[in-house]
Symmetry: C2
Subunit: 337 residues, 2 copies
């Protein structure tokens, strides 16, 4: 069992050529002039020895790490799982490795310290609030970065989804069912997605000629959704309780449904619920949750693509075109008559 690592020099020795030739063969250098026979000798030697290029040496020399970073707030949020999948697939297609890190314990700053200098060629920031000190630091290190699904103050590089349209789709669905008192369970006030969905809600209500219902902020978690729904129901004057709620996030919606049940309401008979982001899970809930599907994987993919050919100084402001559709299930129905 040989376990000393095999280097270019070893391969070169076996193939009886210079290291340079092996390197150029490995990297398919088009400027290399080589006899077919020699090339085969080299390839055979590589195969025989099981040669794999040493990435450390390679990236020291080329100053490209062939890695992208993806920073997310929390792995437990399945919304990010979709984004990761898309990003990972695209990174793999480009021959890059994706290293996903979360805000566990420390924040992005500490993550960057661990990542160190020269470990990644670009960084995707998903769902991270604005931290202008940090983006400045990234700029100083000349690391291209891009915000996913999140803009923040003064930031000039992001790609987002059309959350406004998603919200409108949800509201229009409720309106079509006959609802007139439609509340909004929004996301946390710091989140840009929350703001965009709220804007979509407001615009759609206006378009439908309806007055805005109560709006309550909630974390993107079941617990947050439950608490917010409880508050929303407690504050509604008797007889003016909303007949439907547009929830900004599917995780909150799960908690919100539970809180509504705890308040004695039956879904969808007494209250319709529709939420943003379609998860596998949504169809198996009780009742199955009506959602708006967003192209999350596509967002991850697009992020990596952009990062690939990005001038560190470039400006990117893109709203991803992609299918956004309403998935109707059992949690929405006409209002009680």
């Amino acid at each position: 069992m040989k376990r000393a690592r095999v280097t270019l020099a070893d391969v070169a020795a076996v193939a009886k050529v210079d290291r340079a030739v092996v390197s150029r063969v490995v990297n398919k250098d088009p400027t290399l002039n080589i006899r077919q026979e020699t090339r085969e000798r080299v390839l055979a030697a590589i195969e025989e020895l099981g040669y794999r290029p040493n990435v450390a040496a390679r990236s020291l020399r080329t100053s490209r790490a062939h890695m992208f970073g993806l920073f997310i707030p929390d792995f437990a949020n399945p919304v990010y799982a979709e984004i990761i999948k898309g990003a990972e697939a695209e990174a793999a297609a480009q021959g890059y490795v994706l290293v996903t890190g979360s805000a566990i314990g420390a924040g992005l700053g500490e993550y960057m310290d661990r990542i160190g200098q020269g470990r990644i060629d670009g960084l995707l920031l998903a769902g991270t609030g604005d931290d202008s000190g940090l983006t400045a630091q990234l700029d100083r290190a000349a690391i291209p970065w891009l915000m996913l699904n999140n803009r923040s103050r003064g930031v000039k590089r992001y790609v987002i989804l059309d959350d406004q349209r998603a919200a409108a789709l949800a509201v229009e669905h409720l309106v079509r069912l006959g609802h007139r008192r439609i509340a909004h369970l929004a996301g946390p006030s710091r989140a840009d997605t929350a703001a965009r969905r709220s804007a979509g809600y407001s615009a759609a209500m206006r378009d439908a000629g309806l007055p805005e219902g109560p709006i309550t902020a909630a974390d993107y978690t079941p617990a947050g959704g439950a608490a917010a729904m409880a508050r929303l129901l407690a504050n509604a004057p008797e007889g003016e309780r909303p007949t439907a709620v547009f929830v900004a996030n599917v995780a909150s919606a799960i908690g919100a449904m539970d809180a509504a049940r705890a308040a004695g309401l039956e879904i969808p008979r007494d209250l319709s619920i529709v939420a943003v982001h379609d998860l596998d899970l949504a169809g198996y809930l009780n009742p199955a949750l009506t959602t708006v599907r967003m192209p999350l994987a596509e967002l991850g993919r697009r992020g990596v693509t952009l990062l690939g050919g990005l001038d560190p100084d470039a400006t990117v402001a893109e709203v991803l075109a992609g299918p956004i559709e309403l998935i109707q299930r059992r949690s929405t129905a006409p209002p009680p008559s």
Copy 2:
């Protein structure tokens, strides 16, 4: 805006010392003899220039990448999210970066190719079936590896949880409630966790003096759980339908509950359900799901710890001691009388 990266040599020049001194200061080399004043000059220069060590150069020289890999089947499975969290926290504590990859598209083999040689110092394999060719390849590359929550044929390095005890806890809970016909919705037949939970189920049934109920295999997904539950109910002779089901995984359980409802059963009145793995979500389902909590984050943490000081040839076979507890919620109740 200076963006040429600053190297040891730059710092050394500013501090008017040799590169070696700077290196030793950065790495806190205990053999270094240095005047306090000089050390401060060096630290000041580092601060002033914003020096960060270049990881490529460092790992080329030391042949340690300060990265661990973690390979999982699917990011969308929240069970892995917990493991990742624990592993990431521990890796961070050790000054390592965790690079988590999934089986997207290609398998572990292709992942290893992208990771290349020398990019990671160790690899954690979570929930990956046996692939002896691959572990052999890892051994050849002298990369320490460890299976998490999964043993496979002939593999001598793993750390697992006490799934057998978890299963027993669940079954005992059902028995205590008075159930006698307890079915088992197992995991996929290839999964080692499924086998261990099934063994726990069988042992607990035996201990309780009860005959094993029907056992059906299901993927660890809502869809898999739904399909399996439908099969299980269809196959049960009238009048001998189980009054409770022990489900091997929480994701399957969500689907299983839905299928039970679709068959006209009410939970827990007609059928009690208890599942392995406690997720945040479980408490907000309708009805809230009784689960067995497993120390998943601890598993990830322990994996990294072991990987840290691991001789590539060592044998590890550990059952993680950690709290396993039943979280009783609304999905379990005494059987119909």
